[in-house]
């Protein structure tokens, strides 16, 4: 009983009371979860879907903004450098993208988004304080080392976001911090967090800052170690983190390999492989759970292809009416045979009876 007076057990017992209350309420609300009723008054209440409410939107550069939110109670605090999937509704359809969390560990999560496409532009231009966003728990191994070590951060463009979280977490709190940040951007106006970084560097000797404006100075070359030797002479003895465009990541990775230090470099990639549209359609279908592969043309329904290959697939009407056949698309692109539209959203449930492959496809069945 005495422990209840100390911080942690109180929250635990609060959680216990809360879940017991929800269970008791569900006797009166079944089959609908009580959260669906609580949502009438609390927009963050949800049993299936973690939500957050936007608490601030701060423009960073002409094309980017930082969005901070207060997450619902099931959110797990993030580690510096991790990312989370963020969902927003555009034209009534929920769209998910991954964003690194730029806030320091322990603070409310924030993402810094650069407008380059459909979802990012929507987030930067249309998000308002009070909006609800959908969230998935933070994840990723692009995190600070367990013990104190000298660090080198190589970033470019929006690739600075996870590193910003690390710097905000480490530099003001640790006297023994030793961080070199080499950040590339087109020019001063396109560069994220410039003022804050300069203040931090002025205040804390543990942060050494190098800004590289590529319009004037050109890109850093990783073809040999020349550029790095100049920018950070002791780079070989530092634990290194790199985040930026694919070419930069690949080149840095190759350099560290050649130097014989591949284990000291941690890479974070923002680009996921795109599923290109194959003209005429067709392609290889991989049925992941059944471990089967078949080659099909662009007009054979996935359901038929699967059944012919001996895959056990759910089906009902077989003509697009009943949705018994819904199967998660793990990756790839499919074509709806009725409308001709193609879809490539990972995890989307597709009707296999009226969809065909439009390129290589991986299905969860």
């Amino acid at each position: 009983m005495v422990e209840i007076l100390h911080g942690k057990p109180i929250t635990l017992s609060c959680m216990g009371v809360k879940s017991a209350a929800l269970r008791a309420m569900s006797v009166f609300t079944t089959p609908i979860p009580p959260e669906e009723y609580l949502r009438l008054v609390n927009p963050l209440a949800s049993s299936r879907q973690l939500r957050g409410v936007v608490t601030s939107v701060t423009p960073e550069t002409p094309t980017s903004a930082t969005i901070t939110f207060r997450p619902g109670s099931r959110w797990q605090p993030h580690q510096a450098g991790q990312w989370a999937r963020v969902g927003v509704e555009i034209d009534g359809v929920r769209q998910w993208r991954s964003y690194s969390l730029s806030a320091p560990a322990g603070a409310d999560p924030a993402v810094t988004v650069t407008a380059i496409g459909r979802v990012s532009t929507y987030l930067v231009r249309n998000t308002k304080v009070g909006d609800i966003v959908f969230l998935a728990p933070p994840q990723g191994d692009f995190v600070l080392p367990a013990g104190p070590r000298p660090l080198l951060m190589l970033t470019a463009g929006s690739g600075i976001t996870p590193v910003m979280s690390m710097i905000r977490t480490l530099v003001p709190r640790r006297k023994d911090a030793d961080v070199v940040l080499v950040h590339s951007s087109r020019d001063r106006t396109a560069s994220l967090f410039t003022d804050e970084l300069q203040e931090l560097a002025a205040e804390h000797p543990g942060l050494h800052l190098v800004h590289r404006y590529t319009t004037d100075e050109g890109r850093i070359s990783f073809a040999d170690s020349g550029d790095l030797d100049r920018l950070c002479p002791d780079w070989r003895s530092r634990k290194a983190y790199v985040c930026g465009p694919t070419e930069m990541l690949d080149a840095a990775h190759a350099l560290w390999e050649r130097t014989g230090l591949p284990d000291t470099l941690t890479v974070e990639r923002f680009n996921t492989a795109l599923a290109p549209e194959v003209p005429g359609g067709g392609g290889q279908i991989t049925f992941e759970k059944s471990d089967k592969q078949v080659e099909v043309d662009g007009s054979t329904p996935l359901l038929l292809a699967g059944e012919e290959a001996g895959v056990i697939m759910p089906s009902g009407c077989r003509m697009g009416i009943c949705r018994t056949c819904l199967t998660p698309l793990l990756s790839g692109r499919i074509r709806d045979l009725r409308t001709g539209e193609t879809h490539d959203d990972e995890g989307e449930l597709i009707q296999t009876c009226i969809s065909a492959a439009a390129g290589p496809v991986h299905l969860d069945c």
Binding site: V27, F28, P31, M319, I321, R323, I354
Partner: protein
Amino acid sequence: MTITADQTAAKPAPGPLTPAPIPPAGTKRTGVLPTQGRPVERPAAAAHLTDQQVEELGDELDAIRDEVLAQRGAQDAAYVRRMIKICRALEVGGRATLLFSRFKPAFVLGTGALAVGKILDNMEIGHNVLHGQWDWMRDPDIHSTTYEWDFVAPARGWQHTHNDLHHTWTNVIGKDRDVGYNILRVSEDQPWKLRDLGNPFVNLLLAPLFEWGIASYDLEWDMVAAGFKSKEAFKKDLNAFKKKAITQVLKDYIALPLAGAVLSGSGRRALIGTLSANAIRNVWAHSVIFCGHFPDGAEFFSEEMIDGETRGDWYIRQMLGSANLSGSRIFHTMTGNLSHQIEHHCFPDLPSNRYIEVAPKVRALCDKYGLNYNTGPLPKQLASTWKKICRLALPNELPWQRGRAAATA
């Protein structure tokens, strides 16, 4: 008005034998139906159309669907969210009010709010969400794979008999088990059996107990006996039903009255309130749903008519086999837009709020191609349905009528 009667007259008189249970619908056709060709037999009401016309009709209906798909967006999403909000508020408000139903106004208000809440949950939200009409939003709370309704029949079992069997084989005698739900005779094409004498009484009993009737129907008892459904599958469905039934009964008939008794001595009244709310929803859903396919003029089909069916023929079957209800916007919402049964059957996965704007276009096509567009106000359609159910308690031809027919021949 109906041609069904003439059709049966031409057929040999149905024998008194009980027909074998309907086997599960199984066919190899997969994917989009062909646009060209013709079925072995076209229904009489569409026999005047050429293959070319049927194909054009199919294209025109596809175009209507595509037009809605192109516009579907934020406004539709806002509509269903608003509906859900209203529904949840009515449910929670109704239940809370019933806790004090010792006071008469609280009893009336609580029962009414709960009944309307249940109707919205089951019809405008549940039925349509479970059809996948809102799956495009990718909201896991409004999705055909997750939604569960305040109705004793588990959603997953219902999706099988309704979406998969009924919507695919609409009104095909021998394939669509919704034609009479195994317990009623609703078409002259169904052979008469002695038990059909009870037709009106069975229907009278089914109306207030509709949710239990549907739950039992979804278990497909007869399929197990006939060997078409495995014992394991049946057991699984039965367990799901038991679990759902227990929680539903606990909620409506035990927990709420108990809470009412404790709070304000309203136990008995609260129980009457929840019983009435369920009964009101049951009678309403039963009436609306029976008006969807059973009023006079709604056609039934033979298996020959779906053999070789094209996309256009499929649409024709959906239109001829369904009947609409006319009324105000609120009325349409309260029927879950099943008042637009014809449009719903042509486009089962278009969002229900769109049927109202699609209906005049579908009706115009029916006029253009000389097809019957069966619609009328609820009292008229309901009377027609009940009359038919009473009439079909007796065989199509009574012995003395048969004698007279033979004499004139």
